[in-house]
């Protein structure tokens, strides 16, 4: 249906770039330059570093907004804007390795989101990190992150995207390990980098394969890009292993990269540990933007993912995306129920919501997944920053059982947090409701299987439940912590209020009645369709009931109970074995510990043993044999092996310093023997060739 409507749109000329597209590179470059400048500053320069980071990102936001209005203007006059600037990076053989950037609805909307959320979190960080001795370095890393992330967003080349993608991974590593004196932070940073790298090596393979097949890594290049019909047709016609086309196999390899970055099963284990980083980092990188990069990547290469799709059908790649997303959504939501660390609950919630986005992409396409990505970015960063405010107010306490009753002490944090919590739970009419409902709606219509739909509905129930459990512990009941809690400073609460505003209202840009977001991304006109309310009304009603059920259940178990920290959890009393399983994160870390990590260590030892014993042993054996021969030949040359050589060296060390002495050393004996042996062999060869 969307495609029919899109026919009314003129495709923009990809090779003609407007002024704003020409300077679009500034959007990532400015924060990166700021990062470079801060790195070279003599530490510590608090005000200057924060000013540079915030200033550069503000200019980026302005450029992003201009670009966004440009795309919207194009959309309003029925032009599907897609402008690119491509250039050759290097010439390899006869082929060119090209890089470039692209302005289209997808990159425009993502760019604005990253700049907006990023800017708010930068400002919030000024308050949150005020007493940290490495304040300057923090802003250096934050700015570098923003630059790299924006680079991922505007890339028109899979290679450039991959490069920025890895840089994003680096900044994530640096920021998780920001408090590097803590061994747990340092270990979490390494775990994050390694786990995502597992996905990335598959991504790399997919990338070189795509490059080899299509001869380009540009997405769009006026018909010759790798995401354009010509290249995709070739990929579809090329068979590969296990009955997949080359398109399907490459799409799956690239998706593996997204699995790592977006914390999908089975590579989700790093994200909860990433909460070792400062809370603004968790909000910016491990909730709103970087982890969403995987989802964005799938949306970016969606033409490849969906290559050869039939109406009502799916492709292997999209089916895999859907299943991975749906299973992750439920799996992580289950674990979130049994966590006590305020940030860990949110971390598992993020994993779960990323699963929703993936499932949305697989079930309903770019717009469905991306809509949830955008709304989630706002309400989840709100929740993380709210939790940061709570942690701050409770003197660095993170255990929800040692909080309670904070709604009186921290009213700003409380009301904004509730907005975020209801948005995350998908309560009508908060932002998350509309985006999550889009995914459920697509799931209901999926013809391959109904199970993803059921899983996602179950996940919605769980989400409402664990969020109610969390806010009951934190904001309701009686205060159970140490000391006295206090509200955070204005520099932290103002960003909360702004984000809260988005958490309430953002959903209205993509309701079934006025699906502006979906039309914008799909390049089709948006109309008010009140009839759509009737079509999806029953689903909306039932999903609202599910969410209500989750909230009520949570309230019944946890509301106003204010249990002591030492008391067992309400759920623990009800179903102990399930609780233990969930509490221990389904033992995935332990499983990896006894499989992958144990294998890694064991194989390292095997390699070392092979080296010392087998290869080294063989060499030692040969040496021994030679030594034996040498002893037999002792009469010929007593000093050949034992004496001559070592003695010559010692003499050199102790004796002369002049070159003449070096030359008169016994090395010559050694070389002479070698020459003799060679001469004998040469004579033998000559003799036998004559014969």
């Amino acid at each position: 249906m969307q495609e029919e409507m899109a026919a009314a749109f003129h495709p923009g000329n990809a090779l003609v770039a407007s002024g704003v597209t020409q300077v679009l590179w500034l959007v990532p470059a400015l924060p990166m330059l700021a990062a470079g400048a801060i790195a070279l500053l003599k530490q510590p320069r608090r005000k200057l570093s924060a000013g540079l980071a915030i200033g550069s990102l503000s200019i980026s936001l302005v450029i992003a907004l201009i670009a966004f209005t440009h795309v919207v203007a194009g959309w309003a006059s029925h032009v599907a804007v897609r402008e690119t600037v491509n250039f050759t990076w290097m010439q390899v053989g006869a082929a060119q390795v090209q890089l470039g950037w692209v302005l289209d609805p997808l990159s425009a909307i993502m760019m604005v989101m990253v700049c907006c959320v990023g800017l708010l979190i930068f400002i919030y960080s000024v308050g949150y990190m005020a007493h940290d001795e490495n304040f300057t370095r923090f802003f250096c890393f934050l700015a570098l992150f923003a630059g790299a992330m924006l680079g991922v967003v505007i890339s028109n080349s899979l290679l450039l995207l991959f490069m920025c993608w890895e840089l994003v991974g680096l900044t994530s590593y640096l920021l998780i390990g920001f408090w590097y004196h803590k061994p747990s932070a340092s270990a979490a940073a390494k775990k994050a980098f390694m786990t995502t790298r597992v996905g990335d090596v598959f991504f790399l393979l997919g990338m070189v394969w795509l490059f080899a097949q299509t001869g380009t890594l540009l997405f769009y290049n006026g018909g010759t890009g790798s995401m354009e019909p010509l290249a995709l047709g070739g990929l579809l016609a090329t068979p590969s292993v296990w009955g997949l086309t080359a398109a399907g196999a490459i799409a799956l390899l690239i998706f593996a990269g997204a699995v790592g970055k977006s914390g999908q099963l089975p590579l989700h284990v790093w994200l909860p540990d990433a909460m070792e980083g400062p809370t603004p980092v968790s909000a910016l990188i491990h909730a709103a933007t970087m982890v969403a990069a995987g989802v964005y990547l799938v949306a970016r290469v969606y033409p490849l993912m969906s290559a050869g799709i039939l109406p009502g059908g799916s492709t292997t790649a999209l089916t895999v995306v859907t299943w991975v997303g749906a299973i992750t959504a439920v799996f992580a939501a289950l674990i979130a129920i049994a966590q006590d660390d305020i940030k860990r609950i949110l971390a598992y919630s993020t994993v779960s919501q990323l699963g929703y986005m993936m499932a949305g992409l697989g079930l309903g396409g770019i717009a469905v997944g991306m809509f949830h990505l955008i709304t989630h970015a706002f309400f989840k960063s709100l929740l993380f920053m709210g939790s940061g405010s709570v942690i701050h107010g409770c003197h660095e306490e993170q255990d929800v059982r040692r909080m309670g009753g904070l709604k009186h002490e921290m009213p700003w944090t409380f009301y904004t947090y509730m907005a975020g919590m209801l948005a995350l739970s998908g309560f009508i009419p908060f932002a998350g409701f509309w985006s999550k409902d889009g995914i459920l709606d697509a799931g209901k219509g999926w013809e391959i299987s109904r199970w993803p739909f059921y899983l996602l509905v179950f996940g919605a129930l769980l989400t409402a439940f664990y969020m109610m459990r969390q806010v009951s512990y934190v904001f309701f009941g009686k205060w159970r912590g140490q000391g006295h809690a206090h509200e955070s400073p204005r520099v932290m609460t103002v960003p909360l209020v702004i984000l809260g505003f988005f958490a309430v209202l953002l959903g209205f840009i993509g309701t079934p009645v006025w699906p502006w977001f979906q039309s914008f991304l799909g390049s089709s006109p948006a109309h008010f369709q009140f009839s759509a309310l009737g079509e999806s009304g029953s689903l909306m009603a039932s999903s609202t009931l599910v969410v209500l059920a989750g909230l009520v259940l949570g309230w019944l178990l946890y509301g106003n109970k204010s249990p002591k920290a030492e008391e067992p959890d309400a759920l623990e009393r009800a179903v102990p074995p399930v609780w233990v399983l969930l509490r221990n994160k389904m033992y995935v870390d332990e499983l990896y510990g006894v499989t992958v990590i144990a294998f890694y260590r064991w194989w390292a030892r095997v390699s070392d043993w092979l080296d010392r014993r087998v290869w080294g042993g063989a060499v030692a054996g040969v040496a021994l044999a030679f030594r034996g021969v040498a002893h037999l030949n002792r009469l010929m040359d007593v000093h050949w092996v034992d004496g001559g050589f070592d003695k010559g060296c010692e003499e050199l060390a102790e004796g002369g310093g002049l070159l003449s002495r070096v030359q008169s050393g016994r090395v010559q004996t050694y070389l002479r023997l070698l020459a003799l042996a060679v001469a004998v062999l040469a004579l033998f060869l000559i003799w036998s060739s004559r014969g």
Binding site: R197, G215, L685
Partner: protein, 511 residues
């Protein structure tokens, strides 16, 4: 031929510097620094004077011993010139790092400069005899540098290094004597063109066919040549001399060993083995590829088991050069067509760039290890460090960049070459690429563990006042770090000069 024999001049310069250094006593390091700087300037000048079509330029030719097929024949193309620049940079870095040589500094720097001369000579020679002379000549100073200035177990390490490499050299020499007997030539270009028409194989079989059983003479000669280079690179399992030599050599010498001398092996494969024995390598490509993959994967994994920082990076070097081997042997896989040609060009560009990148990065890493050793009283046990980022943030930052370069982070140099190698290898042998990708993972784990154990965690009391890099050291290292960034962002600075040579070589090689 123009008036100035610039390649001869380049080789003579360090020899002259060596003589002066020997007589300069305590000021030998200054002499060495000046000489190394001059050599770098000269090599950069040569880099700008290459022929545009990628062929061999700056040729110098003179008869030497015509009756023996020996000729004074020098010349460089993009490959050779890049190696000259690399050798010059690494020597300069090594001299700079060696500021704590108290025992006979004049002899030490004399040896270092002679080693540089050996490198220059072997990267410019185009006649086997001449090349072999320098190949062996570079071994002698390296041996003494390990033997006299090395660590506790320097004696056995040096002997093993020398004997092992010598054994490889003997295999090489025998093979080339046989080739000379059959063809009467030792000239690389002539032998390459004979090999490409098949005349070489015929001549060898005709003259020497009766020596060996059947017609497999060429194959045995190829095995001999490959063995010589396999030791030098090294390719597993011919690498067992390396960990001890790298660990026992003083760190500035290890910089030379891994940064420049290991490239002689890869260079030899590209200049000698592949052009002349391409057909035989193609026949043996499966075992060779298997060994290359083993070098990549097991090298990385063996590094993971090490506790001595120098041994960690020694094995990591094996792993990184394994990618070069992989990229070279994959060229021999028979596949025709535009796509295969594009893959080969990518792989070979990647290999040559990787040689340079590894040289810079590995030299920088051993430079940092020298620094860690200097400041900790000779400590190199990885578990004995910890938390150094706090007292020495600049050291942690700069070494961190070098470590991430080695790990293949985009934006830094090694990523580009490793990307190009995988770009070339995957379509030609996806199995080899898929196994080798494990090397990327394991290397990352190893290097991050180094960062974790050396730089993070609580600071032990004894390192609480670990001195950070001072101004001079920062200034010395900044250009190297800058170079890593520069190549990572603008690889075309090198690739655009190397690529014509790659195209030229691929057009002239026959497998």
């Amino acid at each position: 031929m123009n008036g100035i024999h610039i390649l001869t001049l380049l080789t003579v310069l360090p020899v002259a510097g060596a003589v002066v250094a020997l007589l300069a006593g305590r000021r030998a390091r200054t002499v060495a620094l000046v000489t190394a700087l001059a050599a770098l300037a000269l090599s950069l000048y040569i880099w700008t004077k290459l022929p545009a079509d990628g062929s061999i330029g700056l040729v110098e030719r003179a008869t030497w011993a015509p009756s023996l097929g020996i000729e004074y024949h020098l010349g460089v193309d993009g490959l050779g010139a890049l190696m000259l620049v690399l050798s010059a940079i690494v020597t300069l870095m090594s001299v700079d790092a060696a500021h704590r040589v108290h025992m006979r500094p004049n002899l030490y720097f004399c040896m270092v400069l002679l080693l540089e001369a050996g490198l220059f000579g072997s990267f410019t020679a185009l006649n086997f005899f001449h090349w072999f002379l320098f190949w062996e000549l570079s071994l002698i100073p390296a041996f003494f540098l390990i033997k006299l200035w090395g660590g506790a177990k320097r004696g056995p390490a040096a002997t093993r290094f020398f004997v092992y490499t010598m054994a490889g050299s003997v295999a090489l020499l025998i093979a080339f004597l046989a080739v000379y007997l059959a063809t009467g030539s030792m000239d690389f270009e002539k032998l390459t063109s004979m090999a490409s028409t098949g005349a070489l194989g015929q001549a060898v079989t005709m003259h020497l066919g009766s020596v060996m059983m059947g017609g497999g003479v060429m194959k045995w000669l190829a095995v001999g040549v490959l063995a010589g280079f396999a030791v030098k690179v090294p390719m597993m399992p011919f690498h067992t001399w390396l960990p001890d030599a790298y660990a026992e050599a003083p760190s500035p010498v290890t910089m030379l060993l891994t940064g420049a001398m290991s490239k002689m092996g890869v260079y030899g494969l590209l200049r000698i083995a592949v052009p002349i024995f391409g057909h035989q390598i193609a026949e043996m490509r499966v075992p060779l590829l298997v060994l290359a993959v083993i070098t990549v994967v097991m090298g990385a994994w063996a590094a993971a088991a090490q506790k001595d920082l120098k041994r960690v990076f020694a094995y990591s070097s094996v792993n990184h050069l394994g990618y070069c081997l992989l990229g070279i042997f994959v060229l021999a896989i028979p596949a025709a067509g535009v796509a295969a040609e594009a893959s080969r060009a990518a792989a070979l560009n990647g290999v040559i760039l990787q040689m340079f990148n590894h040289g810079i990065t590995a030299a920088a890493l051993f430079w940092f290890i020298a620094m860690l050793q200097d400041r900790s009283g000779g400590e190199r046990w990885i578990d004995h460090f910890g938390g150094l980022r706090k007292p020495a943030p600049v050291l942690a930052g700069m070494m961190g960049i070098a470590l991430f370069a080695s790990l293949g982070l985009p934006g830094l140099n090694s990523f580009v070459s490793e990307f190009l190698i995988f770009r070339g290898v995957f379509p030609l042998s996806w199995v080899a690429a898929s196994f080798s990708i494990l090397g990327l993972l394991v290397t990352a784990a190893v290097l991050l563990t180094v960062i974790q154990k050396v730089f993070t965690g609580p600071v032990p009391e004894k390192w609480a006042s670990f001195p950070d890099m001072h101004g001079g050291e920062r200034l010395a290292m900044a250009p190297v770090i800058g170079l890593m960034l520069l190549i990572g962002l603008l690889p075309q600075l090198i690739v655009n000069t190397v690529n014509p040579t790659v195209v030229y070589l691929l057009a002239h090689w026959r497998f």
